[in-house]
């Protein structure tokens, strides 16, 4: 019955996925049929789970996804650098990476992810899950690599070792989740704990674990000798011969004058079994036929020891763990991260002490302070128009706004102490770009067409971030185009940030909030990077900056005279 429901889900998701590119690995894995044991529990205890849980496929990433964000948008927001820096594991990093590009469609599905994140912020829970995910990844990687080994007996040994590791990981997760008990509150991790409980108790697992033990024991007791004579190599059972190298050392001890340099070669990686090693192994197997028959039988029975649901849980955890690992240094540095309150119905936002995640990563690494900003959108307010001194953090603020909405729609903790945000279907960005190399197409026309595309594609549920658009035009042109853009945003009723040097745009209308970057009153060249809600006064500080860079008229003349 469960599997039927899962199939329905699968078709729906596939339809959506098909419409918008794929997230093969991750989504596909989450829909594998369940084992007999887990399925029977699913039937028996489904009612105990939270409402709706039973209709989800097992896994930590339920629900439909929006089409992926435009890569250029993520680049504009500097989220590409953040996501590229994530440790996405080795099993299927591309599909995990894809998840960071795709906003979640449904508010409850976002909450589902937020719950998992909340659990994983607990150090003990996170450690248990991370250990599990790491071992599952190692096991899967080794199993996938078996095909590269030609020799059957070598392959069998590797399979047994992987199976042993796998059983240990599953048992250890079960022990951990049992001990953690009520510390696990999220629907997702409760499902994982329930599944692991059932799985460890299942007959399949008991057989696997028992076979691992007996096979391992048989092979561990075996000891043999290799004799190389000219081109000839002999293998025999070990029969108690003494350690010869220490004998040799003893014989020549009398000649020793001083400590000699070590001639030991250090090997950093295990050497691959070459053809000689393989041939030796074949002789060893011939010497101990019984033990190798046990191994062969094990491998025939347990060709793929990893349960598909375990595999998909491992992969799903990577999404959560990679993000948390990335923000861990920020949390350690005392920066706030929060799970935002999300609304698909209200565009009134309040964001406290927010910051640019990408920039903060860099500043924390360099031991420098991070400036926190706050903003709010009340009533009919929709667009923040940011003006003021250059290099005052306007661009950073615009990025932060875009990052908050994209990260929130992933279900991720966002950089800020407390946030109430609109659940956006997509974030659009227009950041000034280097002149296209094909300079025969005018830059302004290109800009206009890009903005046109954005305004065509955006919906009332979207977020639009425009940074210094049209800054290379005349003041009159920039004002004209800025007003057209704000008119369209108003008609859309979309949320947005518009960074501009045209102060008059900050007085566009009641849906526009004016925010300005600020400078240190004692030193106009010194920025505070604080963006505050205040009327735009059009006062820029360009000459102060020029003085700091020593390029005013007087300074230049003096530099030439030296």
């Amino acid at each position: 019955m469960i599997s039927l429901r899962l199939d329905v889900e699968r078709r729906e998701i596939e339809a959506m996925v098909e419409a918008s590119g794929t997230v093969e690995g991750v989504v596909a894995h989450s829909r594998r049929p369940e084992p007999a044991g887990a399925a029977s529990k699913g039937d028996g205890t489904g009612s105990e789970g939270p409402p709706g849980a039973a209709s989800r496929p097992l896994g930590l990433l339920p629900g439909g996804l929006h089409p992926p964000q435009d890569p250029q948008t993520l680049a504009d927001l500097h989220l590409d650098a953040v996501f590229d820096a994530l440790d996405l594991g080795e099993e299927d990093p591309a599909s995990v990476a894809e998840l960071f590009r795709r906003p979640v469609g449904d508010a409850d599905d976002v909450r589902f992810r937020q719950e998992v994140f909340a659990d994983l912020l607990d150090d003990e829970v996170r450690k248990a899950c991370a250990d599990f995910a790491d071992v599952v990844q190692t096991v899967v990687r080794r199993l996938d690599g078996l095909g590269r080994t030609d020799d059957a007996r070598t392959r069998q040994g590797l399979l047994l070792a992987a199976a042993k590791l796998y059983c240990e990981a599953v048992r250890s997760l079960q022990r951990a989740t049992t001990e953690l008990g009520a510390q696990i509150r999220s629907r997702g991790l409760q499902e994982l704990a329930g599944f692991i409980d059932d799985y460890v108790g299942s007959a399949d697992f008991a057989v696997l674990a028992g076979d691992v033990e007996t096979t391992r024991a048989a092979l561990a007791d075996l000891e043999y000798c290799v004799r190389v004579r000219g081109l000839r190599v002999e293998v025999s059972p070990y029969e108690g011969q003494a350690d010869y190298s220490s004998e040799v050392l003893a014989v020549f001890e009398r000649f020793r004058q001083a400590e000699t340099r070590s001639h030991l070669t250090t090997y950093r990686v295990e050497p691959a079994l070459g053809h000689v090693g393989t041939a030796i192994l074949r002789l060893v197997a011939g010497t101990f036929p019984e033990q190798f028959a046990v191994l062969q039988a094990f491998c025939e029975t347990h060709a793929d020891p990893v349960h598909p649901t375990v595999r998909s849980f491992g992969l799903h955890l990577r999404f959560y763990l990679s993000y948390l690992a990335h923000v861990a240094p920020l949390r350690q540095a005392g920066l706030p991260l929060c799970l935002p309150e999300l609304s698909p119905t209200s565009k009134q936002e309040q964001a406290e002490e927010v910051f640019d995640l990408a920039l903060a990563g860099k500043l924390v690494r360099e031991g420098r302070p991070v400036v926190l900003n706050s903003y709010r959108l009340d009533g009919e307010e929709r667009v923040l128009v940011v003006s003021g001194p250059n290099q005052g953090g306007k661009t950073t603020f615009a990025r932060t706004f875009g990052q908050l909405h994209h990260l929130a729609a992933l279900g991720c903790p966002v950089p800020g102490s407390s946030c109430r945000l609109w659940l956006a279907d997509r974030v659009f960005t227009h950041f000034e770009r280097e002149e296209d190399h094909d300079a025969t197409v005018g830059k302004l026309e290109d800009d206009l067409r890009r903005v046109g595309r954005i305004l065509q594609e955006a919906t009332h549920a979207s977020v639009v971030v425009m940074n210094e658009a049209f800054s290379s035009t005349s003041l009159a042109d920039a004002r004209f185009l800025g007003e057209r853009a704000l008119e369209e945003l108003t008609r859309l009723d979309a949320l947005g940030v518009y960074v501009t040097f045209v102060a008059s745009l900050a007085r566009f209308g009641p849906n526009v909030v004016s925010m300005v970057s600020t400078v240190d009153p004692d030193d106009p060249a010194k920025r505070t990077f604080t963006i505050v809600r205040a009327p735009a006064d059009g006062l820029a500080h360009a000459l102060a900056l020029a003085r700091r860079r020593r390029v005013t008229y007087d300074q230049l003349r003096e530099r030439f005279h030296r």
């Binding site: 025969t440 197409v441 206009l448 045209v502 860079r549 003349r557």
Partner: protein, 517 residues
């Protein structure tokens, strides 16, 4: 032996650090498009072209030396290609030879045999060079190419080849390696020295199977690999010095071919570029480089070769009549050819100063102490800088390297703030540069700034991108003051505006993503 085709009195150094700002200048002026045409698919040609273009000559005499060589090459492209092909073949020989030797890192015996193979392969190539020199010296007029041919003929005469070949055959040790050694404290051999091989009478005795008096002999089993290894180790020690000498000789010969290839590569690149430009019908000419202080800055039918190479449609040439000028301000319509003009001025200066022809009907200019560019850039990637400050910081870096006589091309600089303040900075910068003897070409939207340049004493040369009567771009610049017009409203209407009328009928994406339950 030195090729000396790029400099009359010194070698070209392709490994020295590039001048400051060279990457920015190359990027801004689309030098890579030029380089691609010069390379014609040969990565090495591209590498050399890139380097030579980056290092401007500042002595008109040195420029004319190259112009003369280039004129010879343009007149005799097949001869140039024949010379170049010999260097390619020679270096290819070496690679093939090294393919089956171990190279320089094996035992002395391997080093020696590798070196011999390289030297033996090089001999016929050196003969080819001499033959080419004999055949073509008369057809050249330039000091550089005549000198090259004369040197090849003088240094690579028949006596020299005979001497080299005698040495090469002896180094094969047809009579075996003769090594002397003395005993170390533990009675092992030490101090191995290669000795003159046996004389004629000894060779006959050996061939007749007779021992020399007092000689004892033994043999190792042919299957005794360890014994074989010990013997070859002994000869290795013996030939160590001579192997080193031979390998270094081979390196020298290879080095000559490499140097010759490098110097020819630049001219071959120029010939390739010339071949690409010829069908477009755009005029090219050898520029007239003038000593600093002449006040020359004059071009007819000047166009951007990078654009000529890329564009399918005919490219418009422009005049630059800026003798005695130190500031040229370019304003006008978007997509009106301002950036292209700016690049054509910068590239012409760059090409002229490495000895190349330029894409113009005529071009006469003072040599610049350096060519610099300050172009609008994508927002700084370090995430922190605001745009204006980034621009100012870049400008400040350029100023560090500026000397009187330099040429700076500005493209939409100081647009990262409002028009009034951007104009003020532009005014201060250009005034300071002009008064310090730096030539400036400035493409700008800053009307306030461009307008004020009219009122300088002497006034700046103002050029304006024009549109034809039908409102389309003509890409033609004319000497005219800036217009206080804005173009965005027209452009906005032409693309049909941004308003999307069917907005109301389109649902939000949220509905599309929700799984149907």
């Amino acid at each position: 032996m030195r090729p000396h085709l790029l400099f009359a009195d010194r070698d070209v150094d392709l490994d020295s650090p590039l001048p400051p700002q060279a990457d920015d200048v190359a990027n801004d002026l689309h030098v890579e498009t030029l380089v691609t045409a010069m390379a014609a698919g040969d990565r090495y040609l591209a590498e050399v072209a890139r380097r030579v273009l980056a290092v401007s000559l500042t002595d008109p005499g040195e420029i004319r030396y190259r112009q003369a060589v280039l004129s010879d090459c343009l007149a005799h492209p097949d001869t140039l290609r024949a010379f170049y092909q010999v260097t390619i073949d020679a270096l290819e020989d070496r690679r093939r030879v090294w393919g089956w030797g171990i190279g320089s890192s094996g035992s002395p015996g391997l080093v020696l045999s590798g070196a011999l193979r390289r030297l033996e392969a090089a001999m016929p190539r050196l003969r080819q060079l001499r033959t080419l020199a004999e055949r073509h010296q008369e057809s050249f007029a330039s000091e550089g190419l005549v000198g090259l041919c004369a040197e090849l003929r003088a240094e690579l005469d028949d006596d020299y080849f005979a001497l080299v070949e005698a040495h090469l055959s002896r180094l094969h040790f047809p009579d075996g390696v003769l090594v002397s050694a003395h005993l170390a404290a533990d009675n092992s051999g030490t101090g191995y020295v290669l000795r003159e091989s046996e004389d004629r009478s000894a060779r006959w005795r050996r061939r007749l199977g007779l021992r020399a008096p007092g000689t004892l002999a033994f043999a190792i089993d042919p299957r005794d690999e360890g014994g074989g290894r010990a013997l070859s180790e002994l000869t290795d020690r013996g030939v160590n010095q001579v192997a080193d000498a031979a390998a270094r000789s081979a390196d020298h010969v290879t080095g000559y071919f490499s140097a010759l290839r490098a110097e020819l590569a630049f001219y071959l690149g120029c010939v390739n570029l010339h071949d690409r430009l010829a069908p477009t019908g755009r005029p090219v000419c050898m520029p007239d480089p003038c000593p600093p202080g002449t006040g020359a800055w004059h071009a007819e039918e000047l166009c951007d070769p990078a654009l000529v190479l890329r564009s399918d449609s005919p490219v418009v040439g422009n005049a630059l009549h800026a003798d005695e000028q130190s500031l040229v301000v370019v304003t006008g319509a978007n997509s009106g050819g301002k950036s292209t003009f700016l690049r054509s001025v910068g590239l012409a200066q760059l090409m002229a100063q490495c000895g190349m022809f330029v894409t113009a009907g005529s071009f006469r200019s003072d040599v610049a102490s350096g060519v610099f560019t300050h172009f609008v850039r994508e927002e700084d990637e370090s995430m922190e800088s605001g745009r204006l400050d980034d621009e100012l910081a870049r400008l400040s870096l350029i100023v560090d390297w500026l000397a009187p006589g330099a040429l700076v091309a500005f493209n939409e600089s100081f647009a990262g703030t409002n028009e009034q303040e951007g104009s003020e900075i532009a005014r201060q910068v250009t005034r300071a540069l002009a008064e310090s003897g730096v030539r400036v070409v400035f493409v700008t939207h800053l009307f306030d700034f461009a307008d004020s340049c009219q009122h300088l004493r002497p006034p700046a040369l103002s050029l304006r991108a024009e549109r034809a009567g039908d409102g389309r771009r003509s890409y033609q610049l004319s000497e005219a003051p800036p217009l206080p017009t804005s173009f965005a409203p027209e452009l906005y209407r032409r693309i049909g505006g941004w308003a999307c009328e069917d907005r109301a009928t389109r649902g939000p994406r949220r509905d599309a993503a929700e799984p149907a339950r």
